[in-house]
Symmetry: D2
Subunit: 354 residues, 4 copies
């Protein structure tokens, strides 16, 4: 079977580099084009990029000549993955969608657009159904902010037990989320925690509600924004960890009495997501790894479970204030960023949308 | 004026070392005796200790011969500060109190005893009044667990605006709280967060309630334990920071409507504690440093304010779930441990209890 | 073809855990027995071990019942890999060799024995020839100290250009070399460097000379100890890195004029080791990765090249004092420890010694 | 006695901030003017600066209005300390010197000028004598590169035992040397070492020779550049430490037999520098702290000895290759940068040059 040809926009940036890594030897997607700023365009990718990954630059990308981010250079592609910064993503992604391509974006620009699905593929692939009502071949799908991606997976699993009323989350986020250079200065984080990430709390509070929301009655938009009744309060911190966002969550169900602790654990343990059933090649074996050790999950030890495509949940216990509390860990540059994009594309292929 | 003679129990341990540092050149307390295990007893302190502080071992301590932890070696002292481990603190501290000494303990053994004041000196020196009803000259006072100390200061300040109903706190705690050697293994914390500290959450949930509680009607105990109606939920994490516990707090007042954001900030900004009014030499200039920068407090930059005797509060803002949220930072080995002990002693002297 | 059955001694320790990881899905070695202290013996491995690796405990090891470290429990094995601590390794390893097994040891006990080959498999597999003269079926082979392993690979490559006279090396060594718990305390290394590792400098200075030495004329021992004329000076430091020892080396050739810089680089670039030619499954593609970027190798970015079985060399340049200086990086728990053991076993199989 | 009025150029940068900290409550120097780029000029300093020190911004600096870096704004000052970047320092410092001020510079621009003393005040204040021959009232003095400052102090002490022939040094340098923002990216240094600092090795190799060199026969220049016969080889690394450069040194004396180990230690232990004898207020009590513990000096534990104005030397021992090896630690932003500038000014005042 022929592979689907894809490109990456913002290819020299840290998210772009991750897309390229995840596309290496991919069974159904084939990387054929790379776009970046005019500073890089025209160079071989291996010369344009300051490669900063712990695995080597894949040969299949090294020799591609970097193009400007203009659809005319991407006519071979059906899909582009965008790792563009928000300051340029708006116009560029729109141009690619209008040119008939499927744009899967990691930028924040269109996340609040009711006509654009905001998708964490372990959670709400059903939102992709609104693409069926589109008038043009091209479209944009957004993946979520990295800290939101980890949170919504266990919440979705728990919502099978009844509606969720309230969520309080405190994050301890990895450095790779801020990019490589300059990113977070080393003097700012060594022997330190920074209790602030600009715009992050607002994103988590908004996006969690949209992702756990539903498609409108006419099937064309994600219903009334914010679409969900959950109250969400987020406190976001940056810690000295390379990869892996850890989040302390407490939550309350809407109905009394709430489910039992055993029901809560069972719902987490048995949760299965659509890309698993659909047989997507990058789908995790377990969307949620429920850990029973008292001191897990931990970023360094657990972030690479299922190659970063699954999330880990531990310390599930009763909460003196709300109903339950637990700890969730997600790999911020895989399921929290580029990996979500890859999995969305894989799922759209299984649904014949691409 | 003659200084009050004091000793330190558990003098070679990490809390003991901190007591010795804080007693250096102290204006009203004079270190005259050091107690440790039989392995160290009989040696000069400079030879018994593996000194691991960033400032040098004070000369006045270096030449003291270490004694066993037996009251007969401490007859010169009116006060002993105990940095003993919980497994030996129970019996030893009791023996010293029965021998007529004031014992100020950093151990957990007597914290839940209704006849023992559990005191964060920036918060509840009024609990010390129950010592007046004691039948014997000696007594025990406990300082709180390190993570509790930071939390209760802003809560006490806010309780002036009306009773507090609910508190949710997630901590990011420093390594020094676990001692020096072995303490937390480096392989466990580099590029990592550990979302678990044994017994810590239970301590925070209990101690916060006792400290914010009140003296019983007859003045002899800290009333009904737990003494306060606040619901407290704690989630405790260890992070790669040497000193300084950072805590993300959200809280709700009991009464509707709650105070305004401006009232909340004003209560924090103007909070004054008893050791300040009493003129204790180590009392901080500001019990609470209210910081207005968006990304503060931070452990490395703010932990040494007022030599670690004050706490810093920042990011005060409304909470979508409870009423308000904020970040608090406290120096875990000063106001969170040895420094609280020193300040309690200073206060007891000003009150003529010692 | 039937796999060779192997066991691991000291299976619950950090080196033992690494052996188990490297044996997972191994094409020619099959793990069938695990030995540990009496505390663990009788338990399933998954219950006996505190697994601290970033990849999950392999299923094939999880269900093995741990034995005492006694040869009678290892009769199925032809080879045992020993990750035992030095305080017990001496007697246990001797007993296994006397029972007819091939013992491949990571401990220091027999490294200075002239009848025991001390082998870095990228360097001196020729020393294994003395095993042919042995009188008994069993034997012991030692792999080197972790910091030595990285150093000798480029030195061996350069010795093809003429004898080496002098080597000065300063190491920056990873934490995993000190084990996991307690290992290096976190308070000792955060925001710090420790310029001392007990016994390490002596090991590097001795082992480098033996490994670069030669077999005695009669083929039965590693000739005159120390066997090589190189003067070696080592300075060893511990830094806050999880895995990967970085070493700054300067060296002088014995003959004047020395080889040119281009000859030096070429010798490093083209170096090939015996396990590569012999087709050992774990042999690296490149024994030496010669890096041309000005700021490489770096532990986090380069330690996993060839799965940790190759070493990386960079910054090759002239030295104002000796002849040349360069930086070498090696994965201390792979080629510097367990991986060397695996590769030695693989090589012995290709030579029909096992 | 009236204090000498001083200004700081580049006042908002990381070196400028350090100058301001060290001038706080200074007994003989009074800060009266601050210069920075046009972006900051005209603002109050407290508003212009992004203060990133662990102690609070001193009140005396907070209210000073920042000036452009033009001598006309500094007519009250006799001395300016320059923390300017090299790309602007050349012209600005020259203009201030021509306007008659004493310029004490932390920049590299004039370090190789034979008419400009390059001074580490613990080592070569005698080089300042060439200022007597100057034709104009103003002048420039440079302090050394941060990594050089630590190295030359023990070398100077040892040169009392006879000329030094060869020095090999490998550094492990702190992050603060690269500035705060962006400085070294956190993703570049967490769990990592960077074996390269641009231009640093060349600076160490050159500056060590000039500083240990001597005044020309006519007293007007630092003699023949390079002025010293020592061969120096440097290898420079960046490690995850906030402050404090650690350096592993090996060295050889020119004459055979070399001094004994005991003579070497005694020379280090008893070394006294000119600012000590001259009674400079910031002079360290010990120019060299000779440490006998096997694992010291360490950056976190020893960098603040004598407030960062002294250096610590440990692990003095024989070297199998050269004569002796040892470890030296210096505080890179105090004696390695701003503190050297302050101490040079203090010394010039005692010599009536200012």
């Amino acid at each position: 079977m022929a592979k689907t040809k894809v490109g990456v926009l913002g290819a020299t940036g840290s998210v772009g580099q991750r897309f390229i890594l995840l596309l290496k030897d991919h069974p159904t997607l084939e990387l054929v084009a790379l776009g970046a700023s005019s500073r890089s365009a025209g160079k071989k990718y291996s010369e344009a990029v300051n490669w900063q990954q712990t695995t080597l630059l894949p040969d299949e990308a090294a020799d591609i000549t970097v193009s400007p981010c203009d659809p005319s250079y991407f006519t071979d592609c059906k899909v582009v993955f965008s790792g563009l910064d928000a300051d340029v993503a708006g116009d560029v992604e729109k141009a690619f969608a209008e040119a008939g391509l499927a744009v899967i974006s990691n930028a924040k620009n269109y996340r609040r657009d009711p006509h654009v699905p905001l998708v964490v593929p372990l959670v709400n692939t059903d939102h992709l159904s609104i693409l069926k009502s589109r008038k043009t071949p091209g479209f944009i799908v957004c993946n979520s902010n990295c800290s939101t991606a980890g949170l919504v997976v266990p919440l979705k699993a728990l919502s099978a037990l009844g509606p969720i009323d309230a969520v309080s989350v405190t994050t301890m986020q990895a450095l790779s989320g801020a990019g490589f250079s300059p990113g977070v200065p080393s003097m700012a984080i060594l022997d330190n925690v920074i209790p602030f990430i600009g715009g992050e709390e607002e994103k988590m509070e908004y996006e969690t509600r949209k992702i756990l929301g539903s498609v409108s009655a006419d099937g064309t938009t994600i219903a009334d924004i914010p679409a969900s009744d959950i109250k969400v309060s987020a406190q976001c911190n940056r810690v000295a960890v390379t990869d892996g966002h850890l989040e302390c969550v407490s939550m309350r169900f809407a109905h009394r009495p709430p489910p039992t602790l055993e029901q809560v654990k069972e719902a987490l343990r048995t949760y299965e997501c659509a890309p698993q059933s659909a047989g997507c090649p990058s789908a995790p074996k377990h969307a949620i790894h429920l850990l029973e050790q008292p001191d897990r999950p931990q970023p360094r030890l657990d972030r690479d479970r299922d190659a970063g495509y699954g999330v880990s949940v531990g310390r599930v216990r009763e909460d003196p204030l709300l109903d339950y509390k637990f700890v969730v860990l997600s790999h911020n540059t895989v399921i929290g960023a580029a990996g979500s994009g890859i999995l969305i594309a894989e799922y759209l292929i299984t649904q014949n949308v691409i």
